[in-house]
């Protein structure tokens, strides 16, 4: 078997991996650094290619962020969305490093949108990548290449080989030539994402339900490194069913549907399940919280399907989506098209309509339109569904990323299950995001974690290497 030798090997090709490789190389230009990306070049970047922004605290307006967003406010947002299931120490640690994360990105070719354009209500908390995540990934790959980092596409790390507390080599499949290659290095950084693309693993965790899940991101996050780490006694944290799951259009392809697959109108109408019953307060909250909860809600319904129904009154209040809505002129017709029980759907909508209390509809704030007297109330944006044509989007759970991963310290070094640290093993990105979040999600935080821990992993890997024999 062919053997390749490096100083630093980064497994993965997304944001965290690239930040790690670049940081390591910049820490010491003489080091031989390699990136192993399991995908072909056209699909490179893992889930980062589907991302859009990075959440960052800031004390004053910047060229890419408006107003101010304090550490406390940022943390409160994380706390609320995760229902307190966050590690405050680590979360604040990441949050306090986010301003440098934006600067790092800018310095390495990532371009941001000026703060005044576009999705304004987010310009305060999130810095938007000009051209999106793929543009960010392209910029980092260009920088990595310029710095002399060796990039191996279609090289999939299969396993890690340890001696005592140190990782010695990675067993890698060269997919183009279908042969295995040994990659030896002094330090290893694992930034290969979660396991959400591994359908068998999802089914292990979720049971049969998982068969109806759609994976919003890359098909290359197979979780092989997580398995290898598990096998080699790394400390595993998190529940395999936890992650970020969004209610997306049921017609989305199995992989890589990305942002365009989301359905934006959930809070403007009602959502019913297979049995034509409502099952949650659609008006509880809006962006970004709504996205984070509805995926799981749909996942727990029969056949993992639900239907978001609105009427023509709110058509212009939400983002257009990838697939056209199903449009009908009567509720009966809608029921037929969706294969729902006509009477039940009619009854659900009638009951809902009768309970709507008239208020001032305003979809941009939590308004005073609500229902009164239902088992499950709709607490905001409750308008009668009575003006045809009626619009319907079928919904399915879209898995975006998983939280089960490895425990790391604040230098990104990986813990063993006995509480000690591996000598030369680091982790960054989705594979360690569970140190900070264990459920729920706020937009752009994944990229914050990836950038902050990616940089830490790269820098500390080089520092640790100096101490190794």
């Amino acid at each position: 078997m062919q053997t390749k030798e490096f100083d630093v090997i980064v497994i993965g090709g997304g944001n965290a991996a690239l930040c790690a490789a670049i940081s390591a190389k910049e820490e010491n230009k003489n080091l031989k650094v390699a990136i192993l990306e399991s995908s072909p070049k056209e699909w490179r970047g893992g889930n980062s290619q589907h991302t859009r922004n990075l959440r960052s605290m800031h004390d004053a307006p910047t060229d890419v962020l408006t107003d101010a967003y304090s550490e406390d406010e940022f943390f409160d947002d994380v706390f609320k969305v995760t229902k307190g299931q966050t590690n405050e120490e680590y979360a604040r640690f990441v949050i306090s490093h986010t301003p440098q994360a934006v600067e790092f990105a800018k310095k390495h070719g990532v371009r941001f949108q000026p703060s005044m354009r576009g999705t304004l209500h987010l310009g305060r908390t999130n810095a938007f990548f000009l051209g999106g995540g793929k543009s960010l990934v392209n910029a980092y790959f260009t920088t990595a290449k310029k710095l002399g980092i060796e990039i191996f596409y279609e090289f999939e790390a299969l396993d890690l080989i340890f001696e005592a507390d140190a990782c010695k080599e990675a067993l890698v499949l060269d997919k183009k030539n279908n042969q295995e290659v040994k990659f030896r290095a002094k330090v290893f950084i694992i930034a290969s994402g979660g396991f959400e693309s591994n359908l068998e693993w999802l089914e292990e965790a979720w049971g049969e339900k998982a068969r109806n899940f759609i994976i919003r991101g890359t098909k290359f996050n197979q979780g092989k490194m997580l398995k290898a780490l598990q096998k080699n006694k790394a400390q595993i944290i998190g529940d395999p069913t936890q992650g970020h799951m969004v209610a997306i259009d049921a017609r989305t392809p199995k992989y890589d549907g990305g942002i365009a697959s989301r359905v934006d109108c959930v809070s403007l109408g009602i959502v019913v399940n297979k049995d034509a019953q409502r099952f949650y307060d659609e008006g509880e909250d809006f962006w970004p919280k709504r996205y984070a909860i509805w995926g799981r809600l749909v996942a727990n319904q029969e056949e993992q399907i639900a239907y978001s129904i609105t009427d023509s009154k709110v058509q212009s209040c939400y983002m257009p989506s990838l697939f056209p809505p199903i449009v009908t002129n009567s509720i009966e017709e809608l029921a037929q098209k969706m294969k729902l029980d006509e009477k039940k759907l009619k009854q659900t909508i009638d009951e809902y309509n009768q309970s709507v209390v008239a208020g001032q509809f305003n979809h941009t704030i939590q308004d005073n339109c609500f229902t009164k007297g239902l088992k499950i109330e709709k607490t905001h944006w409750a308008l009668k569904i009575d003006t045809p044509p009626f619009y319907c989007y079928p919904l399915r759970p879209g898995v975006t990323f998983t939280y089960m991963g490895v425990k790391v310290d604040k230098t990104a070094r990986v813990y063993k299950d006995d509480g000690s640290l591996f000598e030369n093993l680091f982790a960054a990105g989705e594979i360690m995001a569970g140190n900070i979040l264990t459920q729920g999600y706020v937009a752009g935080f994944g990229m914050s974690i990836g950038t902050v821990f990616g940089r830490l992993a790269g820098e500390n890997a080089v520092k640790v290497m100096k101490g190794l024999k």
Partner: protein
């Protein structure tokens, strides 16, 4: 059938762009797209001509091929632009002749004109380098005036048809000035903060903008030179040939050199461009136009250098044949993109102002 398919594919891409919006900061196309929820054919003709084919959005797109959504705005819009040039061209039948056999038609015209000049003026030459010794003044000016006016009419009709179709209206003076600035500076070809666009490949550079500037300003300079020549002749009674210290010559000389470098540069870039970004159907027409522009400027320069040689007459016939062919090609060639783009930009700036 095929044309419908081109429009359908591009519309599908627009729907995806509109639900993604990651590119909204890249150029004018995306904010313009966001103003629509549904797209009709005219919208597509508008959007396609707003696009500079810079390819930034292609490399940034998470849905670009090999993704099954197959979003490829640069290539799809290039195909649409080609359709739109044809659709609004006047008289329409001529555009079909040139579309099918751009190279052959152009070559045939050059040869025909050259043969005509040869037959008419064979044996004439000039020692002093005076063109009118070879071709009489009235003959030359009336020929070019007639062709010029016909071409101008054809161009104007085409542009008006296009402007009407995309519903350009309520243009303000400030929007017009803004558009003029954007067009003259090629604002959107500079990419973000003028760092350049990803053309001809993924690496960002301003090289295309430079060549385009040379071509456009070279053309403008030559136009000025010709107009100045007429002005000198008629009003100042200063007659050609001029020397390099005189404005008509100065503009013509600089313009010619700009044009040669610019068109050659654009031609090479086109050959080097990422094949994924190019609409194969429109390539032939584009090449012919750039090539003709190069030949016109190159023969012009040759004429200047060999003015006092025995080849003067032949060179003059060649140069004039090329110019005539070029003129006739204008309304049916890539040349119109200048007006279509300007009109589209004008609509964009007008809508932005009212927004």
């Amino acid at each position: 059938m095929k044309i419908t398919r081109i429009y359908e594919d591009a519309m599908k891409s627009c729907v995806i762009c509109n639900s993604c919006r990651y590119c909204e900061g890249l150029c004018a196309v995306f904010p313009a797209m966001e103003k629509k929820r549904v797209f009709n054919l005219q919208d597509m003709d508008y959007l396609a001509n707003l696009c500079h084919n810079c390819s930034e959005c292609f490399y940034d797109c998470q849905y670009a091929p090999p993704h099954e959504f197959n979003v490829s705005i640069p290539a799809q819009f290039a195909a649409l632009r080609q359709q739109s040039y044809k659709k609004y061209a006047f008289p329409n039948f001529l555009s079909f002749i040139f579309e099918k056999n751009a190279f052959i038609s152009a070559l045939l015209l050059v040869v025909l004109f050259f043969a005509g000049f040869y037959l008419a003026f064979a044996g004439k030459n000039s020692q002093s380098g005076d063109f009118f010794d070879i071709m009489p003044y009235t003959y030359m000016t009336s020929l070019f005036s007639i062709v010029g006016i016909l071409v101008l009419i054809a161009l104007i009709v085409g542009i008006v048809k296009y402007a009407k179709a995309i519903e350009l209206k309520n243009v303000s003076f400030s929007a017009f000035i803004q558009t003029l600035k954007d067009a003259l500076s090629l604002k959107y070809l500079g990419g973000h903060k003028n760092e350049g666009c990803t053309y001809p490949n993924e690496t960002r550079s301003n090289v295309r903008k430079i060549f385009h500037h040379l071509t456009a300003y070279g053309f403008i300079f030559c136009f000025i030179a010709t107009s100045l020549g007429a002005f000198y002749h008629h009003f100042l009674h200063i007659y050609a040939p001029y020397d390099l210290t005189q404005f008509p010559k100065l503009f013509g000389f600089i313009g010619g050199i700009f044009l040669c470098i610019g068109t050659l540069g654009l031609l090479i870039l086109k050959l080097k461009a990422d094949k994924k970004l190019i609409d194969k159907e429109s390539v032939g027409m584009d090449y012919v136009f750039i090539l003709m522009l190069f030949i016109v400027s190159f023969t012009g320069l040759l004429l200047m250098f060999f003015r006092e040689s025995e080849y003067l007459a032949a060179l003059l016939w060649l140069h004039l044949s090329c110019i005539l062919t070029f003129f006739i090609l204008l309304p049916y060639s890539k040349f119109v993109h200048m007006f279509y783009r300007f009109t589209a930009l004008l609509k964009y700036n007008t809508e932005e102002e009212q927004h």
